[in-house]
Symmetry: C2
């Protein structure tokens, strides 16, 4: 059976308080689909932040002296820098045009994941959800309660990365399944030894989802991946994907 990556069509502009579970089930129904066990639902973080009201109106932001300094150095709007700093626990690198931050959750990414979420006329930015693992868990429970099916949920963001050009979609919140598949000791039936030892399945699912998210003429903020055999887990979370700095030989 092929794995399918299905764009969730028909989602409206998400506003604070919107029910992403209901909108997901509505979208499925409009496509003649219903949830199945082991479905993986992948949501762009911006719609999760918006639904949770995690929005900042730049008109309300008073930049600190630090934000003004950094804004001058980087060429960025000091109000945006102020929001970035509020979302960061550390700055990793700064250069003109670039702030690579470590978010409060521990993710290393440009601008601490603060996205302009500028529906026209808005001056609003959407930082990452406060607890994207919790956001994912809440959506997962909602789908379970309303449909009866056990699914996996991912909240995703696009990150630049070391060594390789371009951005890819990664998982910043996850619930319901093992985010890393430990394959140590496995061999495939050819006898090729598995070099891959610990596959970051959640990130591969997030990247797969971006092949439909925001790629078409129609705006697609979420995707369903069907046919991948997730390993259910109650404990797994995206924070398990963070490599501690002192164990990071790739930097």
């Amino acid at each position: 059976m092929p794995i399918q990556i299905i764009p969730l069509k028909g989602m409206p502009i998400i506003e604070p308080g919107d029910d992403l579970v209901a909108l997901t089930l509505d979208s499925l129904e409009s496509m003649g689909l219903s949830p199945e066990d082991k479905d993986v639902y992948v949501y762009s973080h911006v719609i999760v932040s918006r639904s949770e009201g995690k929005l900042v109106d730049l008109n309300d932001v008073e930049p600190s002296r630090t934000a003004i300094n950094f804004g001058e150095f980087t060429g960025k709007d000091p109000k945006i820098v102020e929001v970035v700093l509020r979302e960061s626990r550390a700055i990793r690198r700064m250069a003109p045009g670039v702030i690579i931050a470590e978010t409060k959750h521990g993710f290393v990414c440009a601008n601490a994941g603060v996205d302009k979420s500028n529906v026209p006329g808005e001056t609003v930015v959407a930082p990452l959800p406060d607890d994207p693992d919790m956001s994912a868990a809440t959506i997962r429970r909602g789908i379970k309660d309303r449909s009866g099916f056990d699914v996996g949920v991912i909240v995703c963001d696009t990150h630049g990365r070391a060594h390789r050009d371009g951005e890819i979609n990664v998982t910043i919140g996850a619930s319901g399944f093992e985010v890393i598949k430990d394959r140590r000791g496995e061999k495939d039936l050819f006898g090729y030894e598995l070099k891959v030892k610990r596959t970051a399945i959640a990130d591969e699912l997030a990247s797969a989802a971006e092949l439909v998210i925001g790629q078409s003429d129609e705006a697609i903020p979420a995707a369903l991946i069907r046919g991948y055999d997730i390993e259910f887990s109650e404990e797994s979370a995206a924070n398990q994907l963070i490599r501690p700095r002192d164990k990071d030989l790739f930097i």
Copy 2:
């Protein structure tokens, strides 16, 4: 239309000289499929190296003094270290158990991508193909010649990465399509501004493919991704995915 990730079933253990194009078309036929325009075929680098005879028998390897030294420090077989060094243009980091190398192509990865390709009883390792972009181009032309269809081809490898735990599949060879999708200036129909500016589509396709490659009981060394709208390009290549060290703010 959903995107489909289809495992290429029925591939034998690949030996030097094997015709990956013929084996691909045979696999498709066995599943009742035939190529279509814009198909993307993703091959694990180990089968490409094997088909090209890029194999090293460790019994034939005489480790240098350097390889012996590094072997003692890292705890690795000095013969494997010797092969890693032959494939590397630089070493980025070394620690017990770990050599992070910069391959001759410029990819930064563990062990310069040298895989044990140990069909039982063999002492053979498979380094990366000498020119994975050329390997991909050759397969692409073969599929075009024999089927008439214009497809994209990826040669993939699994890499650990900075900041994030676990490995993901990435593209080390590509042919026929833009590996980076430049979306600067685009807006989606919601009006959300696209934060993602340059999406490394080839890497997202490679990661999607690994959801079926080597994941099932049956050994799957390659995948077909159908339904993604690649942008054809004759010039694009995986080496465009290499971020030059002096422009890398993520390290």
